[in-house]
């Protein structure tokens, strides 16, 4: 059976730490980190590897911070 796996790349310097992607993620992949970027925002970080590549986070991000990758893996 094929399984879809995803991953994301976060452009941390563009992130404003609003957190709407955190609520948009069905897999609880995202969380606002403790570190801050050059703008002084707590940027979003990954907290697990459960990403399914649904792209909800990228869809809802107002600043186009997140790039989503998706791959089909045959098991």
């Amino acid at each position: 059976m094929a399984k879809i796996v995803g991953d994301i790349v976060i452009d941390v310097e563009k992130c404003k730490g609003c957190g709407v992607c955190v609520t948009g993620c069905p897999q609880d992949v995202l969380i606002l980190g403790k570190e801050v970027n050059a703008k002084g925002y707590n940027f979003v970080v990954k907290q697990n590897n459960k990403c399914i590549g649904c792209a909800n986070c990228a869809m809802i991000c107002p600043d186009a911070v997140i790039t989503v990758y998706r791959a089909k893996i045959e098991e």
Binding site: C18, G19, V20, M59, C61, P62
Partner: protein, 234 residues
């Protein structure tokens, strides 16, 4: 982009840009920016852009579209711009059935100038010029401009959307695409309202603002199509 964290402007900008890109009309699109938070929208769209005086975007767009009917023209306006100072330009451009797209961001407040009362501010909603909440007997009623313009014969497509959840973003994009496709077919005005948040003006965190929007804005400004293919559906 200069918008506050979590602001719906950024998402809406992206959707408009994606539609322009997907339709392959970048070289024939002319956008009109408003006065308000989106005043600098002209910097974010990689198409030719004009910056209008407060509320006058539909007048500019009228001339652009009539002088160059083969181009795609859109205005991007906030509630103060479109529904207060520019009400006449909005109503008359739509009533003439001008063949362009209006993207209307309604967050019930003047964001750029620091959170003053907008024509769409809800009853009881505190702003810096309605510090004890909007009192209807004193300040008048919130204006449902979208329902108002939907009743004009020149309006071809009128819809109200939001961009605060992934599902809503998908729907909003579909609506924006529909609006631009209507223009391609030479139909009258397409009007897409996006009910949006103003975290700074509402003095809430982005997440809380979205919750507040669902609980307070949506009951008064219900989402969905109001007019499709020139016919009222709601």
């Amino acid at each position: 982009m200069h918008y506050c964290p979590g602001c719906g402007h950024g998402t809406t900008h992206r959707l408009v840009a994606e539609v322009i890109d997907e339709m392959g009309i970048q070289d024939k699109t002319i956008g009109i920016a408003p006065v308000g938070c989106a005043v600098l929208a002209y910097n974010y769209f990689d198409v030719d852009m004009q910056e209008a005086a407060h509320g006058r975007a539909p007048a500019l767009a009228t001339a652009v579209k009539r002088l160059m009917p083969e181009k795609f023209v859109f205005t991007y306006q906030g509630d103060g711009d479109l529904a207060a100072i520019g009400t006449a330009e909005t109503v008359h451009a739509i009533n003439r059935g001008e063949k362009f797209v209006i993207i209307f961001i309604n967050n019930g407040i003047y964001g750029m100038t620091g959170g003053q009362m907008a024509p769409t501010t809800l009853e009881g909603m505190p702003t810096s010029t309605s510090p004890y909440g909007r009192e209807l007997d004193l300040m008048g009623n919130p204006l449902k401009i979208t329902e108002l313009v939907a009743n004009l014969p020149g309006a071809y497509f009128v819809t109200r959307q939001s961009v605060h959840t992934p599902a809503n973003v998908r729907k909003a994009k579909k609506a924006i695409k529909q609006a631009f496709e209507n223009q391609a077919k030479g139909h009258g005005t397409s009007f897409v309202e996006i009910v949006s948040n103003c975290n700074s003006g509402w003095k809430l965190t982005p997440i809380k603002a979205n919750e507040w929007m669902e609980q307070n804005m949506f009951p008064f400004y219900p989402l969905g199509d109001i007019k499709v293919d020139g016919k009222l559906v709601k």
